[in-house]
Amino acid sequence: MEKEELKDKIFAFVQAAKGKKKLKEKDIIKGVSAETGESADNVKKAMREMIDVGKLMYSYGGGSSSVEIPSEEYLREKGMIQ
């Protein structure tokens, strides 16, 4: 699978959980890997690239860390959008 396509799958996976379940890195890696047949390592790498550019972000709440789609406020602060 092309990396960009994989990233779209990851994004869709995170979006589907929004407001329902806080996803840990591992949930995403396992879930997307099962869905696409890509190796866990590839999913992890793609996900990390998305985090590095603010397409996804780490979040923290309820005593533990998770991965989410960034808010507009976050993107503005990081200079990703004007």
């Binding site: 840990k24 890195e25 923290y60 709440g61 989410e68 990081k78």
Partner: protein, 392 residues
């Protein structure tokens, strides 16, 4: 800048112990954020409650830890602490500083933050106490470009910490500072990007005196030890006696294994019965020295009481060599993480998971044989598992 009356906090400027209120006032004299912090804390003292919200979602791009979001719950009253985030800077092993390097951090913090710090936080990082969200990226760019990095937070590897070990202590059996630095550097990804069920802490002590309290607060406690005899310098023993030490009462009678004897001039140790607790060595450091092979005992599982009670770490590997590049230890640790990551529920520490799954499952997963050193005593009950392979 608003001037706050602080009659309650003023009471804590009195007395011989250094005053945190004086520190807050010093920072408040020139810093709006510190000034409002002073005002808000005075209000807490009046109302007997804190005014902070739960942490929020802030950080530097790409990292999931190192910054802890903190917002005042009454920002209209104290706008200077509307944002008051923690910025954790990873300390150098052993917490030694060259002053010109530490001055860099002070300059950065005066420019971007409140001017208030904790030297250090409980885990070991330098804690920069209070900055605004928009300061985080420029502050991190400046900090990292000068060779400093953030520590851990969240469901990640926490900043490893150690005692000062061989740098200034004759009791260190392992090079704690080197190992701490090596683990910190080798596992940067686990430190900055929370990928686990919960936090994981390393603390490294050079001997069983455990000056970093590793056995009480680290998921993986690494405690230096040795395998040989204790060498006795009888002339130095005599000097201790001459100096007024009651060797019988203070040393021999307090030995937990009764392996020492003293006839008024000579101190003898039955090394086979010694459990290497460090009592005699710590009291007679000029006279007694460990000899022979050095290494570490690996203990797993300590944590504070939340949520079903505190745990002290349990002996898992009684002895392991600890020399650079620490390959054997790193392989062990990676197996421990893998098992924990695969099996734990969210917010479950490794010690709790071992209790649930059983020590056998854990030892088998990481490839460690059962050894009598792992327990105080064998089980009392007659209920135990047999697996097919045990029946052969």
């Amino acid at each position: 800048m608003k001037k706050y009356e602080t009659p309650l906090l003023d009471e804590l400027e009195k007395g011989p112990w250094p005053s945190f209120v004086k520190e807050m006032k010093r920072a408040a004299a020139t810093n709006e954020m510190a000034n409002d912090e002073l005002g808000q804390v005075e209000k807490s003292y009046r109302d007997k409650r804190g005014y902070w919200k739960h942490g929020g979602i802030v950080g530097v791009l790409g990292y999931g830890g190192g910054v802890i979001g903190r917002y005042s719950s009454i920002p209209d009253e104290f706008p200077g602490v509307a944002h008051f985030h923690t910025f954790r800077i990873n300390q150098p092993s052993g917490m030694y500083y060259k002053t010109d390097r530490l001055r860099e951090i002070m300059d950065l913090w005066d420019k971007y933050g409140s001017g208030l710090t904790n030297m250090h936080g409980s885990t070991g990082d330098m804690i920069m106490l209070g900055c605004r969200t928009e300061a985080l990226e420029p502050l991190f760019a400046e900090t990292s470009s000068r060779g400093w990095d953030l520590g851990g937070s969240g469901s990640a590897l926490r900043t490893p910490a150690c005692c000062l070990g061989k740098s200034r202590c004759e009791w260190a059996n392992i090079d704690t500072m080197d190992l701490c630095n090596e683990l910190t550097q080798a596992y940067q990804d686990y430190l900055h990007r929370p990928a686990w069920p919960y936090k994981f802490k390393f603390k490294i002590a050079g001997c069983a005196v455990d000056c970093v309290a590793s056995i009480a607060r680290a998921d993986c406690s690494i405690i230096g030890t040795w395998k040989g005899k204790i060498a006795v310098d009888q002339a130095a023993v005599k000097d201790y006696a001459k100096g007024g030490m009651n060797i019988q009462a203070e040393i021999v009678d307090m030995c937990p294994t009764g392996c020492m004897s003293y006839n008024g001039s000579e101190l003898k140790i039955d090394d086979e019965n010694c459990s290497r607790c460090m009592h005699c060595i710590s009291k007679m450091t000029k006279a007694l020295k460990p000899t022979g092979e050095r290494g570490a005992t690996i203990l797993i599982g300590a944590k504070a009481p939340i949520v079903v009670g505190s745990l002290l770490s349990w002996v898992v590997v009684p002895f392991i060599k600890m020399e650079p590049p620490y390959t054997e230890f790193k392989e062990l640790v990676e197996k421990i993480w893998e098992w924990w990551d695969d099996n734990a529920k969210p917010r479950e520490r490794i010690g709790e998971l071992i209790e649930i799954k059983g020590m056998r499952a854990f030892l088998e997963a990481i490839g460690v044989e059962p050894q009598a050193q792992q327990v105080f005593e064998p089980r009392k009950d007659p209920f135990f598992f047999w697996k097919e392979e045990d029946l052969k």
